[in-house]
């Protein structure tokens, strides 16, 4: 009996197998409900609850709110990535990957590309729903493309940070609950739901420097006023967080054995 070894899979094939597996994992788990159904319900609820109050305040909420929901959704995509990675770390799957002859970048790349795809789907769903209630891209097609790219980029960067946490965590449930606290604070103490002048005076500086404010303000500029100086803080934050979280993720990936 002659043993003919199967030809070794190339890195592209390895990546495809892992990415497909991660997609199946996302579909089987609770992430569709969390990243698509929940933001839609939240969006509808906030439109009903605040449209009138915000109109009295001088804000067209159907144009103001969708960028906030997009940012909230990208944060939820990142958090569910953390949950899935923590599960893989605990089940031993990541350790098993290490024993296989795979390129070092294949595992993290398959994670982040799938997270980008999940974010893109979630953002698209929100934008369709937003268009139904009156949201419009009034700054042209290029700015609209920039909107989607920035949103997905933010999701990937946050997912890298959450992946770093998830790799080090022993219990997916705990790290997930722990993440909901910063999620609550970061999404609300920002310009996502109300303009900065609605906050108490002492809190306004905090709101102004928040990366979530930068992101929401940039998305608003790209959807409404066109790419102006409001986009720069978001890009600076994106780059800084990409370096920080990328480094952290690479480190905890090397250590998780």
């Amino acid at each position: 009996m002659s043993a003919t070894a199967a030809p070794a899979a190339g890195p592209v094939q390895q990546f495809a197998v892992l990415a497909a597996r991660n997609l199946r994992q996302a579909r089987a788990g609770r992430s569709v409900g969390l990243t698509v159904v929940f933001p839609l319900a939240f969006f509808a609820g906030f439109m009903v609850v605040f449209r009138r109050l915000m109109a009295d305040y001088g804000i067209a909420y159907e144009q103001f709110l969708p960028p906030a929901i997009v940012v909230q959704t990208t944060a939820l995509v990142a958090m569910s990535a953390c949950y899935m990675v923590a599960g893989d770390a605990r089940s031993g799957l990541i350790a098993r990957y290490r024993t296989l002859p795979m390129g070092a970048a294949v595992v993290p790349l398959a994670r982040l590309v799938v997270d980008a795809a999940r974010a893109a789907v979630a953002v698209a769903v929100i934008l369709v729903a937003a268009t139904v209630v009156g949201f419009r891209f009034t700054a042209g097609a290029a700015a609209a493309v920039g909107f989607v790219l920035l949103a997905v980029g933010f999701a990937v960067v946050l997912a890298a940070g959450c992946t770093a946490l998830g790799l080090g965590a022993r219990d997916p449930e705990h790290v997930y609950s722990a993440l909901t606290l910063p999620y609550l604070v970061l999404t609300t103490v920002s310009t996502a739901f109300v303009p900065v002048d609605a906050f108490p005076g002492w809190l306004q500086p905090v709101v102004r420097v928040s990366p979530f404010s930068a992101q929401v303000d940039a998305l608003r500029a790209l959807s409404t006023d066109g790419a102006d100086e409001a986009v720069w803080p978001a890009l600076v934050w994106l780059l800084a967080l990409a370096l920080l979280f990328g480094f952290a993720a690479a480190r905890s990936f090397r250590r998780s054995r």
């Binding site: 929940f38 009138r52 606290l181 103490v189």
Partner: protein
């Protein structure tokens, strides 16, 4: 050993388990406090029409009540583990009265909800929340929290005894609870909602219980909202409890 003693044993066990899981414990206490602080800062000016304290009078009761709802997922998962993790089978070999486990769950849940509610109320008082209707009304305030907690304890038993696993249970409770929170008269005044939604907002259990707590703290109608809250607790809580009891009986009989 009387049923009562057995039930309090189970209640004590559940509370000890709650206090001995530090991450979950921090989360259980920190979440309502952060929810109160953030909503107060974000929406106080716009919803309170420029007056944050006015908003706090309604927001604080709502957040205190939400601790009952947001604690239900972990309680449901706890009951699920009791049912399928071997505890119930072990109890069948012992002279434990049927119902003691369920009564202990409910008692432990209500105690936990009241404790977290009291902490959240204290934080609200630091922000300026006040009891203006006297000591008896303040006692009534706590009683309404316990009553509302009773309903969510029953809902947790219903969900924990039904189909569903540890993964799917929590979102199936937090999702509807979040929507009820948003669509309540404590979050924004009823008049700010579109007319078609207003009856739903008024009937929302969070709304009626919030009105009861507002009446017992800042002032306002008390009797009607308390009766409405009681109707929700007896109606919805009662149905959930009956279904849970039947499922439990079937589980222990087979």
């Amino acid at each position: 050993m009387s049923t009562l003693a057995q039930a309090s044993l189970f209640a004590g066990r559940n509370l000890r388990r709650f206090f001995r899981a530090p991450p979950a414990l921090v989360y259980a206490f920190a979440f309502p406090v952060l929810l109160l602080l953030t909503q107060y800062a974000v929406f106080g000016r716009i919803v309170g029409d420029g007056d944050r304290q006015h908003y706090l009078e309604r927001l604080a009761p709502l957040v205190v009540l939400s601790t009952a709802a947001f604690g239900a997922p972990s309680s449901a998962v706890g009951f699920l583990r009791d049912l399928h993790g071997g505890l119930v089978d072990r109890l069948r070999t012992m002279p434990v009265r049927p119902g003691a486990l369920l009564a202990g769950r409910v008692a432990g849940d209500v105690l936990r909800i009241v404790l977290i509610g009291l902490l959240t109320t204290s934080v609200a008082m630091l922000l300026g929340f006040r009891f203006r209707q006297g000591a008896l009304a303040a006692v009534g305030f706590v009683a309404v929290i316990a009553l509302f907690g009773l309903m969510w304890a029953a809902i947790a038993l219903w969900r924990g005894s039904g189909p569903g696993d540890e993964q799917s249970l929590p979102p199936s409770l937090t999702g509807p609870a979040t929507l009820l929170f948003i669509f309540s008269s404590g979050f924004v005044p009823v008049s700010a909602f579109p007319e078609v939604v207003q009856p739903v907002v008024r009937a929302n259990p969070f709304s009626v219980a919030t009105e009861a707590l507002v009446g017992l703290s800042a002032g306002g109608p008390v009797l009607v909202p308390v009766l409405q809250t009681a109707a929700w607790v007896v109606g919805l809580g009662g149905i959930c409890l009956l279904v849970a009891l039947r499922r439990y009986a079937r589980r222990t009989a087979s």
